[in-house]
Amino acid sequence: MTLRLHRWAAIVAAAGLLAACNNGVPEDAEPASDSSGGGEAEGSSTAESSGNDNLVRHDTDPYPSTYEPLPGETTLITGATILDGIGGRIENGSLLMVDGRISAIGTDIEAPDGATVIDAQGRFVTPGIIDIHSHLGVYPSPGADAHSDGNEITSPITAEVWAEHSVWPQDPGFDAALAGGVTTLQVLPGSANLFGGRGIILRNVPSRTVQGMKFPDAPYTLKMACGENPARVYGGRNQSPATDMGNMAGYRAAWQRASDYRDSWNEHWDDPDNNNPPTRDLELDTLMGALEGDILVQMHCYRADQMAQVIDMSQEFGYQVTAFHHAVEAYKIPDLLADADICAAVWADWGGFKMEAYDTIRENLALTHANGACAMIHSDDSLGIQRLNQEIAKALSDGRRMGLDISEAEAWAWVSSNPARALGIFDETGSLEEGKRADVVIWSANPYSTYAVADQVFIDGAVLYDRSDETRQTVRDFRLGLPGEGED
């Protein structure tokens, strides 16, 4: 509970609110490139069919994506102001979607025969929003006792748990996020633990199963957490970690075990006839994947000095931190982040709720970006995820007010291409470019306005949400037959 509520601890007490989230970052070993690494195995291990009979290689994708795009039509959007997510802006622009992919973007695109043509005169078109930090499904609505599935608060190192095994696909928060233009999201375990477990990257589509939402071939991620949360939880139980130095010792000991584990596997794989494989360890499988770079490390970390310690640790053990989440003090160390090639995922104006968040400033995102580091917005919240366009609008205006020269087109990267890169899915989504998945939002007005709402949201070229058509609005099972069914 402590962890879920950290952000608003005082207010929660006052208002009886349940903060829907906390923080954490997902992590985990990548699903081995499709099934080539032995995905055919039913069980946990298998001998490679084409190789040595003694060779053991575990299936790295035992819970594969079953996502299938909904059927879409060939659709041409015309007359829109297009922000492409990688800094481009096209006035009176057109976007053509064919077979779920973007087939052309520019001006004066001819409508193919039979295409649906949408006149978006006076409206804006952008890539779908990607939230790199969500707990939808693992801390769903309603926040019932039985739904607190985001933190395995039983040990500080739980790299063996996977957020996808907690995600409740009937969380009504997914519907609301879709209406806010969110097409892809990373769902992470919470931040109670040093290693919270694997995160999962989801398409924001309705499905009976989590597998039906999993982003095909996306990397796994590993959620780690710095600072107050792990130390408070475990220190409160008189066990390690109780301090920042205890946190570091905990990570390092685990990385060393993972490194040894990897050595044992490599010895086996190099010479299976003479080296038996080590006993499989689910926790170390994940950490080994992170050391290998297959699993992207997403680390909850607020303070500049703590991030600097983690950067050194990543070099000590030879792994890459992909993104620091929350990163309230990223603005103090953009140079260190840029040198280490680490992104910062931040809020526009949340902070102050605990000591490590006390130095929050509204210019964090814009200033970190302007000083050369990769930066982006994140929500960590089931309400905030619905308005990430407004969150970057605030960040952009604050940056401009202090003199930073950043365009609206450039800033859209904060909700699209930058999170896509930090999730290892930029080849597929995060910008409006030919060949990419047609994840597209048509906004009623400039999405940097409070008054703009998403008119239509496309995922893989299919209309998943249409504001003016109730038959194109998802309603998760939970809301059926209850007060509020079908409400915005």
Partner: protein, 423 residues
């Protein structure tokens, strides 16, 4: 309500404050919140901390200082109807938080004014973004009655609370049920008993400091509520809980009730409108966060407005000590979901002032009102707009906070001066 506003009642408020400057704001789009509506290219005259004139064709007296709004919007300051400003510096630090006393046996007698700290860094953070007035709320501790709230301004100084013992705060519904032992029915039994204790005060305490629900000190504090001299703010969200509260109002005519929360208030909007009970609502709350807020929707504000319910907006889904400043964004989202702009803007300015009984002094730009004035560089409900000037009681305030100091320290990485020497 204990008033520092007592001055106004005595007719002394018109005496100029010694430190306030006299000036005229010119060349602005003036949002009056009065029958005058919006005045394009209007002028606002300020003398002695008060507004002395608002019009399109006011002559600025010779020699009077002018503040050029440069075509920006000129509005009353934001009035945050629910906050914990001055009670919390760091939410997770018990040493920097005075919101709730879970270890105390006192409830109604707890007065937030005794713990309020006007030097909290968050006052300037909120003021810079247009918040000039706010209500300060206690959190519940010993029982479902949290204690007494106060009203403050962001002008700074140890007199920042301009009205104390302004309202009593209690939580019913799910929270009240938990406080009362486990059920809503028990919570109502407690509240009825607390009222009976207050009605019986002091007689029933002659032989014992304990009543049925409240001890002597708490019962004494509740007397003002029972007699209708101090409003009672009650958190309720479920439609049936709201109806139960309306029934309580019918049984206790003198009591002045205010609802906080109201997630499902739109489902009983007509009953609420008939009752006259105002609602403090977060218009951005739209998920079924619990079984008492299943009906949460972004259209709640619009439906309540259409039904004629008095509604002020809160940031209850954000927080109440740093992000009361987000009220314009919350109001803007209400507009995006159907509330007329004027009604939404009043819901964060004049309406909360009226709900707390100070609407004749705060929340509008009109002669006789306190000069709490914000000049914005655009539509205040737009997320990309921000204040350029903030006046509290006619005094221009610094556009600086601990946050801007940090920003400025780290703005330039090329500067050779070590960070700790930059001030």
């Amino acid at each position: 309500m204990r008033m520092l506003i007592a001055l106004a009642a005595l007719g002394l408020a018109a005496i100029p404050a010694a430190t306030a400057q006299d000036f005229a704001i010119i060349n602005g789009r003036v949002i009056t919140n009065t029958g005058d509506g919006v005045i394009e290219n209007g002028t606002v005259l300020v003398r002695g901390g008060q507004i002395t004139g608002v019009s399109a064709d006011l002559a600025v007296p010779e020699g009077l200082r002018t503040v050029d709004a440069n075509g920006g919007w000129v509005t009353p300051g934001i009035f945050a109807p629910v906050s914990q400003l001055g009670l919390v510096e760091v939410g997770a630090e018990s040493s920097a938080r005075d919101t709730a006393a879970s270890g105390s046996s006192f409830s109604a007698s707890i007065d937030v004014a005794d713990g309020f700290n006007p030097n909290s860094s968050h006052l300037a953070v909120n003021r810079m973004e247009g918040v000039t007035r706010y209500a300060v709320y206690p959190s519940t501790g010993a029982n479902l009655i949290a204690g007494q709230g106060a009203l403050g301004h962001t002008g700074g100084g140890y007199d920042s609370l301009f009205d104390t013992q302004s309202f009593m705060y209690a939580e019913m519904g799910q929270s009240g049920a938990n406080s009362a032992g486990g059920s809503r029915s028990a919570a109502w039994a407690f509240l009825e008993a607390a009222f009976a204790d207050a009605r019986g005060y002091p007689g029933r305490y002659l032989n014992s400091p304990q009543g049925e629900a409240l001890g002597r000190t708490d019962a004494a504090a509740m007397v003002e509520v029972v007699r209708g001299r101090m409003p009672l703010v009650v958190t309720v969200n479920r439609a049936s809980d709201i109806l139960r509260l309306i029934r309580f109002q019918e049984d206790n005519r003198a009591v002045r009730l205010i609802i906080r929360g109201g997630a499902e208030a739109w489902m009983v909007a007509d009953e609420l409108a008939d009752s006259g009970i105002p609602v403090l609502l977060d218009p951005m709350r739209n998920l079924p966060g619990s079984f008492e807020s299943l009906g949460s929707t972004l259209t709640a504000a619009q439906r309540l407005n259409a039904a004629g319910v008095t509604v002020a907006y809160t940031t209850d889904t954000a927080d109440g000590y740093i992000n009361a400043r987000l009220l314009p964004q919350h109001a803007g989202n209400a507009v995006a979901h159907g509330v007329p702009w004027d009604a939404a803007f009043r819901a964060i300015t004049l309406t909360p002032a009226e709900i707390y009984g100070v609407g004749d002094r705060y929340g509008a730009l009109a002669t006789g009102y306190a000069a709490d004035i914000v000049i914005w560089d655009g539509d205040p409900l737009e997320v990309m707009s921000a204040p350029t000037h903030v006046f509290v009681d006619g005094e221009e305030t610094d556009m600086e906070s601990r946050q801007t100091r940090l920003r400025d320290r780290y703005a330039d990485l090329e500067d050779e001066t070590p960070f700790a020497y930059r001030r």
